[in-house]
């Protein structure tokens, strides 16, 4: 496989749908574009079916624009609201059974290293809080214990939104949801700390209200995972449908969550990661 996979065979240029021609001509592949360039290139996620104002859709758009090498990245997704929009993502992606994403990503990353020993292929496991913090937690943590070299990104909407609004381990204490009418009885899982303690060389939490910060974290996480080991990012993804606020208020809610301290921006960097970050951020 080489990057010619993104060139159209001669004679078929006009026959290919416009969307594909636009991706080839104006997409981000091989061009090192980033969040600040959004709106100037053909994006990797368009026309998704998620609810209006969904923080997950915005976060995914930002993540895709932040990937250091989208043409060499494979995403492993899993069941949940986010999975509904993977069909629209113009980048290699795999859907895994609910919670299996880190197990599948492990096999994939190892296989890619064997198949393409001279190339850098990034694997990013993405899932909601249910897939990463609850149902798939065993597989997530064991991939961290084993030191697997890929990034895990959690879309943290603090609920099982796709199935009508059950509480998840990531819901805040007291959160009242459609199917948790008396309020959640225990605290939000401390996933960034769990990730750090389980062996992630880099663990961070952020919100889509800070696109540049998010971009920096995604790049750090993906690049560090190539050399050092597992990395983790948690992104707050407000869910207007289940938390019952107006879609137009998603970003305001995100900022309010930050201001009140209910959602904290964090970044844990291991000493080895710190060293490496200095090198690649200086080079830039």
């Amino acid at each position: 496989m080489n990057n010619k996979i993104y060139e159209i065979s001669p004679g078929f240029e006009e026959i290919m749908p416009k969307d594909y021609r636009d991706l080839v001509n104006d997409g981000p592949f091989g061009k090192k574009l980033g969040v600040k360039d959004l709106g100037t290139f053909k994006e990797l996620l368009e026309e998704h079916p998620l609810c209006a104002g969904c923080g997950l859709a915005l976060s995914k758009r930002l993540i895709l624009a932040s990937l250091p090498s989208p043409e060499n990245t494979v995403i492993v997704g899993t069941t949940g609201c986010s999975s509904l929009s993977f069909a629209q993502v113009a980048i290699h992606n795999i859907h895994s059974i609910f919670g299996n994403q880190n197990a599948v990503a492990t096999g994939l990353k190892r296989a890619l290293e064997i198949r393409f020993p001279d190339k850098t292929k990034d694997v990013v496991a993405m899932g909601g809080d249910g897939a990463i913090g609850d149902i798939g937690l065993g597989m997530v943590m064991h991939s961290w214990f084993r030191g697997e070299k890929f990034t895990t990104i959690m879309f943290d909407n603090e609920a099982y939104a796709n199935t009508g609004g059950q509480e998840s381990g990531m819901s805040q204490k007291g959160a009242v949801l459609n199917m948790a009418p008396t309020g959640k009885k225990y605290a939000k899982l401390p996933m960034p700390e769990i990730a750090r303690d389980a062996g992630c060389v880099y663990s961070a939490s952020v919100t889509p209200a800070r696109p540049k910060r998010l971009e920096k974290m995604v790049r750090r996480a993906v690049i560090l995972a190539r050399k050092l080991g597992p990395t983790y990012i948690q992104i707050y993804c407000p869910c207007p449908t289940n938390y019952k606020f107006k879609p137009s208020e998603s970003l305001k809610r995100t900022r309010d969550m930050e201001k009140s301290g209910a959602y904290q921006i964090k970044e844990y960097i291991s000493p080895a990661a710190e060293e490496l970050i200095k090198k690649f951020e200086e080079v830039k």
């Binding site: 496989m1 080489n2 010619k4 996979i5 993104y6 060139e7 159209i8 065979s9 001669p10 004679g11 078929f12 026959i15 290919m16 749908p17 416009k18 594909y20 026309e47 069909a87 629209q88």
Partner: protein
């Protein structure tokens, strides 16, 4: 050895047509091909393909990612040969650029998707179609759906071992074999 009376003919065969393989249809050996589930000589199948394409009202080629994307020289060569073949046969082309399950956002006038190929066939009133450059499992899926829900006659030009679920299937088809098929069509056209 082939021992079945099951015929792989155009549908609609109903919501869940059986996979031809499960009905006893086996893949051809080198030099052979399949016509409606029966093993025949490759030459016979080529002539039948030419006949089907030339007598069709609205024939279409559905090239897949393996030839649409210029990922190696062989793909580019085969793509050129397919373009020439389609032009020679007077067939139009609708690409299968990738396999993302885009329903219901697919534009059936612009592209075909293996998960709902029937939409493209219905929309364009296609009576004969040719699959080429489509990864085998996606070709199998699409061919079965087409047989299940449409009356389109399917032809598969496969670079590997062929497809039981296509009405006519050639195997080991690369650029050279595509050009041979073009020559058969040219000859048949000239002879009319």
């Amino acid at each position: 050895m082939q021992e079945t009376n099951y015929r792989v003919i155009n549908g609609p065969e109903g919501y869940l047509p059986p996979a031809a393989a499960s009905m006893g249809v086996v893949l051809p050996d080198r030099g052979q091909a399949l016509i409606e589930g029966r093993i025949v000589a490759e030459k016979e199948a080529m002539e039948k393909i030419a006949e089907k394409l030339l007598s069709a009202k609205n024939p279409y080629f559905f090239p897949g990612p393996l030839i649409l994307w210029a990922w190696n020289d062989k793909a580019v060569e085969k793509a050129k040969a397919i373009k020439e073949l389609a032009d020679t046969a007077g067939a139009k082309i609708i690409p299968m650029s990738d396999y993302r399950p885009k329903y219901p956002m697919i534009n059936p006038a612009e592209e075909i998707n293996p998960n709902h190929p029937n939409l493209t066939i219905w929309h364009n009133k296609i009576d004969v179609c040719v699959f080429v450059g489509v990864h085998c499992h996606y070709a199998n899926l699409a061919l079965k759906i087409i047989r299940g829900g449409t009356d389109c006659y399917t032809i598969a030009l496969c670079a590997n071992y062929g497809h039981e679920d296509a009405m006519i299937s050639l195997r080991d088809v690369h650029a050279e074999e595509v050009r041979n098929l073009t020559a058969v069509i040219k000859k048949m056209k000239g002879g009319k």
